[in-house]
Amino acid sequence: MREVAIIGVGSTVMGKFPEMLPYELGARAARAAIEDAGISPRDLQFAYCANLYGGMVIGQAVLAEVGITDIELTNIENACTGGATGIRKAWWDIASGLYDIGIAIGVESITTSAMAGKLITPARGDITGELGMNMVARFALAQRRYMDTFDVSLEQIAKVSVKNHHNGCLNPYSQYKKEVTIEEIINSRSICEPITLLQCCPSTDGAAAAVLVSGELAKKYTSQPVIIAASVLKSGDYSFRWEDMTFSDMTSKCTREAYEMAGLGPEDINICELHDAFAVNELLHYPELGFCKRGEEVRLLEDGVTELGGKLPVNASGGLLSKGHPVSASGVAQIAEIVWQLRGQAGERQVANAKVGLAHVIGGEVTGLESGAVSVHILKV
């Protein structure tokens, strides 16, 4: 397999943009990534575009705006993992030698979709969906179990949201740029007990894009390529095999494979963007990603290890909680953040001397499986 590098990334500011259609958001991110890469749009040989709620052939609409037609273009739906799926597929198309240069885009416009103002639910007709499941409930259920079996308080979980909202204040791409306190988080409106509004990621419109090339070709464009050291994507396993609903077996397995592929371990990671759709998720993912042992996750947070300035900053971008969660774009937006960090271009939220970064997304709810899909990428310079 050939080495694959990222030479350009771009993102819209995340937020609520009812006046912008999904393809306009996507085109904005794609143009930014192409400009960042220093290539012509016509250099691109293939494209992936991830989207959940935007409708038919959105990738074609996005790229037609940018001047790209008549190439191999695949639209992807993989819920919250859609964007990362596009990165994974683009990585493979180049690693395998099929193509030399391509783009992965993720785009979501919740405000202009039928989902505006609603809780995201499983697909129509899904059994748990018919019985009242939604994505907040899914993680509220894990949180209740976690709090009761590990004796963790709501105050401790809220600290994740405090940290990530602080980071979001430092990120010009962030939907929220506002500090929040533990009291505000706990006293905000209850959505699905014990999850309150400020423990949830917002509903977000936005897009992100990344230009991938072969390691060889990267040298032509930049002296600062970011290498994809690992790219792993997995679907969920049956929930009857899932022993503990507060520990994601999918994430754990996917991460182990990623470390093996990269020849690296959790001790090598300098920065991590993980799937903090809800505050509790960040804590639960620490041990799954190998950052600590089970039961030590609150200590990792409270000791400041995962805050900016700590040994392993997590969600320096503000994460999904503050930067926002444009569903299918989030996986690509995480990659963009890590590329900026590894190049030293992350401004006020810059993590000093970051050489290796890990991105993790998980999502999609369907009866009978732990979750839909999970992806882990490890990038290095």
């Binding site: 009242g132 499941m133 259920l141 179990r145 959505i191 699905c192 007990e193 095999r241 609903m245």
Partner: protein
Amino acid sequence: MKTRVPFREGLFEESEGKGALVGAKCKQCGQVVFPRREPCLNCLGQDLESVKLSRRGKLYTYTIVHMPSEHYQPPYAVGWIELPEGIRVFGQIRGWQEHPLKVGMAMEVSFEKLWEEEEREVMGYVFRPSTNGGGA
């Protein structure tokens, strides 16, 4: 009187509010699954038998939902119930206002109306705190 229809065929057998969830047990590996599937989702074995699942289980976790969904107005409760067969079943929880929920408490399946449509009452399974104690 409105016609009563299950929200999905083949998940449970009930009459007059009494009944059981129906799963499948693989004769090869012993795995129980709900709902029924063939072949066995665990080992792909072809030889499965229908089994009536235990009426009682333990509350693995729960949440009170404060947003409306397609069929339900808030607040409503849902949870995962751990059955002695070694599987968890997701469902609505009723009776939570009278009996505060607690992880690990004994629960019992009940067959009740989930929602109404024009001419139909849509039936399903729900779980209620077990009022006569004990586990399975």
